[in-house]
Assembly symmetry: C2
Homo-oligomer: 411 residues x 2
């Protein structure tokens, strides 16, 4: 049960797992959860217009502080009236802290780890200038110029961008960093969390009279280590945040990612929304909702769109088909039968197959729309099933198995 | 005055020049003229959706027979129900004959000539296999395979694609071909016109019961030579076509292009619509409407969109600005003040500038929409001015000078 007034209102809780439905109140309106948010890295969800995002049920976008800071710059965006106005999106926005990009350029990304791809060790990576107690000195991916992100700087940049939800600056040690480095990094990330919170409380101003100011989310770290995750969950939960993210290494495969979520969520308060950073595969969304996650973001639907990979309701194909596949050449059906998205209402697989073979930009757009709509439709289905008390049946229908037994918080 | 019942109804005629307004009836609905049609080379107007085209007032599209024949193939499109259904465009479509692309690959295009760019002489060009009385043997730009276009084949392909307006197969000798070759080519193109008409009359079937079948347009040739143009105009006008195009070399600069139109139109009947192939600059549209042209097509608005060049109402800038120009970096205004297109209603120059610098696909789309809408809006203005009897004032307002004196047909 909820213990205090926050931005989050829980509306339903599954009785056999941790899945729940709720609403997050933001300055740009409510967000019904569980929710998937498309990523608009450079103030645009690649190839899609804000009107298309609205039409297809997008509630909230994620913007990347790192990219926007470097190009076109947070100060320019602030002079344009903030990120919402700049990109003409009047719904809620969440910005990350910039830490993820800085560190994934150095260490490789969490998603690459889960897929078993691990880049070379970073010790002498030219982009990594230095991580100190103060912050991170790094080089721009655009021009090699040197920049410093500190917790205070990250929050200041996010204040300038003006997102509804902003996130603490953190270090992201990779899986292979091992226990000792992860434990040591965790303590610094906790000190950074306090600095973010202090700076935010001193500097933040209300976005709109009478509406909440920017919501600040903490980030729980601790890699794959249960004692570090529980320690971080307890610590972050004790602070005056508005919600939290689960960040850091999520392990070396999907099973380990689910374990990490499973070992973390029991230590989190019910009254905050929980965001799992950078996750968006169909099975991961369902599995992590079952484990108590409310919010997701991922570049996958638009990245797959650019590569001609479309989401379909076929678990045996890992929920995806390649539109360039010869089998689609004369297929007059939609990408997904019954899908209500603009692409599936209007165009055939044969046409989209042609567009990709002819390297036509419209193809990217049509598959991106479909993929975003597919995940949003999945999340809507999940939410309805929670409100109607039939999430277990949905889980079985999509994943072909029963809900797993989950861990519980030690008494 | 109109002398017989055709697909074209004239609604207004300027008293001081040859500009006129009318309506072309097609199987997929009426087209109000003067009209500009965006080009959907490969069954897509690059980066734009059919819904966007409709919203922005597009009445009719042009599809390229040459490209569609090679990829994905006219037979595949016919099996999908035709080009309209394949690309989900339910408005009128015009397909060209394929001749333009076959010959511009060999000789360079008419637009390149007008801009003073002339590629190397074609005599031993590897793509040009042979032009004979029968037709043209050429190589695919995709895979080098050999193909034969004859007048009958071009019409058969256009029947399969199913456009509302189809066009005779022609040879396009370049400006530098000179008088003798142009005259000799013209005679062959006239023989090809007869073969196209014969084949069309034998093979064509009504598209829809009670509505006109595919309209077949002849093409007037003759390069820059008045006697050849008048001879071709008289010859083509004597045949049982539904309208006509002005094709072939239009000279070495814009002034010569206007002269070619001026020397041709007086020899054309009033009762047919007149299409000037491949022309779409702002000044050219106005100048050629003044000289009696009803229909235009050009890749310019979408090609410029891909390169970040936006149309603006500024003749001193040749009606165009580059969105990557540093002056737009913090410009909160729309591409064109007062423009009702989606791009200008929604996004600032600063945002579009950012999208192009960040190489974001949405930028291409936004500038393409604006450019198409800009030309359509110009054509709507032109049409209104004709119906309201003030085309001369519009001409002065856009071009800063009075209507020119035009040639008249010798008695």
């Amino acid at each position: 049960m909820q213990q205090k007034q926050t931005c989050f209102t829980q509306e339903a809780q599954d009785t056999t797992c941790r899945a729940r439905a709720g609403v997050v109140q933001t300055a740009h309106g409510p967000v019904a959860t569980p929710v998937f948010m498309p990523v608009g890295t450079r103030a645009t969800v690649k190839s899609l217009s804000p009107a298309e995002l609205h039409e297809h049920g997008v509630q909230i976008l994620l913007g990347n502080t790192y990219h926007l800071y470097l190009q076109p710059g947070h100060e320019l965006i602030a002079r344009r009236g903030g990120l919402h106005r700049f990109m003409a999106w009047d719904g809620p926005i969440l910005t990350d802290s910039g830490g993820f990009q800085v560190f994934s350029l150095i260490y490789g990304s969490v998603a690459e780890e889960i897929k078993g791809r691990r880049p070379a060790m970073p010790s002498n990576h030219p982009d990594m200038v230095k991580v100190t107690e103060d912050g991170v000195l790094f080089r721009s991916y655009l021009d090699g110029s040197r920049h410093l992100f500190t917790p205070e700087r990250s929050i200041a940049i996010q204040h300038a961008l003006g997102a509804d939800i902003i996130v603490c600056f953190d270090e992201l040690p990779p899986l292979r960093a091992g226990y000792d480095y992860t434990a040591q990094s965790l303590e610094r990330t906790h000190r950074w969390a306090q600095r973010c919170l202090d700076y935010h409380q001193q500097q933040a101003i209300p976005l709109v009279e009478g509406l909440p100011r920017q919501l600040l989310f903490g980030i729980v770290h601790g890699g794959i280590y249960p004692n570090l995750r529980s320690q971080s969950a307890d610590y972050i939960s004790s602070m005056a945040f508005d919600g939290l993210c689960i960040g850091g290494s999520l392990g070396g495969d999907k099973a380990q990612m689910y374990e990490v979520v499973d070992m973390t969520v029991p230590f989190l308060p019910d009254y905050w929304p929980r965001h799992l950073l950078g996750v968006g595969d169909v099975d991961d969304l369902i599995e992590c909702v079952a484990r108590g996650i409310d919010m997701f973001d991922c570049v996958a639907p638009t990245r797959m769109g650019r590569h001609g990979t479309a989401l379909v309701r076929e678990p045996e194909r890992r929920w995806r088909i390649s539109v360039t596949n010869a089998a689609l050449r004369e297929d007059d059906g939609p990408l997904q039968a019954g899908c209500p998205c603009m692409t599936c209402r209007t165009f055939s697989r044969a046409y989209i197959h042609h567009l990709f073979h002819a390297k036509e930009l419209l193809g990217i757009r049509l598959v991106s729309i479909h993929n975003v709509a597919f995940l949003l439709h999945l999340m809507t289905e999940i939410r309805s099933s929670l409100i109607e008390g039939r999430f277990g049946a949905l889980y079985r229908a999509w994943l072909g198995k029963d809900l797993p037994a989950l861990s519980s918080r030690p008494q």
